[in-house]
């Protein structure tokens, strides 16, 4: 069911406090506009699916029972860095477990190498424009005539 508000851009607004979003309107039931004190209040109508949120979210978590054939929910440019991240942590674990000092130092060094690759990957990834509208569109030279 559609809302009864013809111009939501004029009569509805939102804001965030902590983990809550507020939706307020200055319309009374019947469509008349409130003014002055107590102008913005909760909506007087119920609308199924009335608000559409657009937001940045965490990627879905990989659960323990997740099937191994599940595709990782990240951009494909982050595949190799994720492997580097896991390896760096495992090398750190190994460095803490081995009794041989030299083996421990070697593991630490490898942990550093993979951590560096991870950081490099995530920094490059953060800088890459992924919204599919970037890049060169056309070159329009000056007219010298």
């Amino acid at each position: 069911m559609a809302s009864s508000i013809t111009y939501p851009d004029k009569h509805v607004m939102w804001w965030i406090v902590g983990d809550n979003i507020a939706i307020a309107t200055n319309l009374k039931s019947g469509g008349a506009t409130r003014s002055g004190r107590k102008e913005w209040q909760a909506s007087v109508e119920a609308v199924s699916g009335g608000v559409l949120l657009h937001y940045y979210a965490e990627p879905p978590k990989v659960k323990d029972e997740t099937d191994l054939s599940t595709v990782l929910p990240v951009d494909n440019s982050m595949h190799a860095p994720i492997v580097d991240y896991v390896k760096s942590k495992l090398f750190l674990d190994r460095a803490a477990q081995v009794s041989d000092v030299n083996a421990g130092q070697a593991s630490l060094a490898m942990a550093g190498v993979h951590e560096g690759k991870w950081k490099e990957g995530i920094q490059k990834w953060a800088q890459v424009k992924r919204d599919k509208v970037g890049g060169l569109r056309a070159v329009r030279p000056f007219n010298f005539k």
């Binding site: 559609a2 809302s3 508000i5 013809t6 111009y7 939501p8 509805v12 607004m13 939102w14 804001w15 965030i16 983990d19 809550n20 979003i21 939706i23 307020a24 004190r37 209040q41 909760a42 909506s43 007087v44 119920a46 199924s48 699916g49 009335g50 608000v51 559409l52 949120l53 657009h54 937001y55 940045y56 979210a57 965490e58 990627p59 978590k61 990989v62 323990d64 997740t66 099937d67 191994l68 054939s69 595709v71 990782l72 929910p73 990240v74 951009d75 494909n76 440019s77 595949h79 860095p81 994720i82 492997v83 991240y85 896991v86 390896k87 942590k89 495992l90 190994r94 953060a126 992924r130």
Partner: protein, 110 residues
């Protein structure tokens, strides 16, 4: 997410096990989750969710909108009388004179 080449959990674990043949599967999954949390610090994973508007209710918990953790809301649309979603403005102040009782009771105060 770019399409084309995808990677499965098995492929990640296989690559890791080239170096660590005994790496526990569950532990590797936990490390992958840690990596995903690190990645989520960057605003890249765009999601959308619809929320039902309830009469006389001003406040809505963001976790109600989606089971995924909402990092940042960057746009909100409201359904108009034609059934179209129209962008609504954000109130920069957020300090209204009146908060209705229903809304207040919907906020959990610890």
């Amino acid at each position: 997410m770019a399409s084309g080449h995808n990677i499965t959990l098995k492929e990640v674990i296989d690559r890791v096990r080239m170096v660590f043949p005994d790496a526990p599967e569950v532990y590797v999954k936990h490390l992958i989750n840690d990596a995903l949390v690190e990645i989520s610090k960057y605003d890249t994973n765009v999601e959308h969710a619809k929320v039902d508007v309830v009469a006389d209710k001003m406040w809505y918990t963001l976790s109600d909108a989606s089971h995924r953790r909402v990092n940042k809301v960057f746009r909100v649309d409201y359904m108009d009388s034609d059934g179209d979603y129209v962008k609504i403005p954000r109130n920069g102040d957020g300090e209204l004179l009146r908060m209705d009782a229903t809304s207040e009771s919907s906020i959990t105060v610890n």
